[in-house]
Symmetry: D2
Subunit: 102 residues, 4 copies
């Protein structure tokens, strides 16, 4: 079995004076793209598919730095990592697994 | 402006003896469907689009009850609610807002 | 067994122009106090102890409304609910359970 | 200003057959202690105080590995990092900041 870990990253920038987060989120997503990480934008965050927990953390770190570099003075990150060893599933398989049972 | 709130629901059932969550998640999603709530499955959770904070909580409650009814003895729910009053965006608009800036 | 549910609430106000969240969090905590809900402030959120999932949602709703009333135009709430039916534990018991094993 | 970052780590082990998480959480906490990281147990997670985002990720990684080593086949981690550059506050100061306004 190939090692696959799915994770989700949600980032907010505080104290920016604007309620719009997309200028910051887009920087984070660009950083994720630059790492060559497979990702999927959702209305509430960015889901990534990586091959190790290290890679999940490295991706989150790059995203965080990109938001800071954009000028945010306070950034709150929520990172969720789902590490399943017995039967790893990629992003599509996880959705299919639920859909097939609805 | 129409009131739109997006939220994400992530549910895990503990102590089931199985690492598979899809039997439980699918029950939660069915409960969300039964309420007529617009939703989108992601690899890490379920994003919903509602018209009030109350509706977000009611949806989460129905999902929680469905997972409990399926037999889980311990359920942990993560509910994220994004309530933007000045410029509410629906699920698609939130993604487009980021994509247009990448 | 008495029904006990523990939950955690984390709230951020976006677009306020200030990186400080305490003016908003304190309003949320006051709302929780007004409901007579047992709570514990942590450096990252507010843990509450309630007797039902409904009560957890009602408490989160009151906290959310208090932050909105304070003037926030966009509020993001993270609510985590831990509902354990087979052996419910209160806030102190949950900590003791871990500490006794370290 | 000294760099201080506060973070929260919540870990669940899935498919263990037991609703009790303390055998796993205690391993995670021991790993955090071994790193010499300042931490505070809460009823819903473990708050840590670190000096960089890297240290937050390294701590989460050590905790994750400890839970895996204990025998969990699927582990879901929720890591929240609050990185405030303009006026960093330690764990106690964050609580005082809210309490002083209630």
């Amino acid at each position: 079995m190939k090692p696959i870990i799915t994770a989700e990253l949600e980032i907010v920038a505080l104290g920016t004076g604007s309620t719009s987060m997309s200028p910051y989120i887009s920087e984070a997503v660009r950083a994720i793209e630059n790492l060559g990480i497979k990702y999927q934008l959702t209305p509430m965050g960015t889901v990534i598919e990586v091959s190790s927990v290290d890679e999940a953390f490295n991706t989150a770190k790059a995203a965080h730095e990109a938001v800071m570099k954009k000028g945010a003075k306070r950034v709150v990150i929520h990172l969720t990592i789902d590490d399943r060893k017995d039967a790893p599933k990629d992003m599509d398989e996880k959705i299919e697994s639920v859909e097939s049972k609805i």
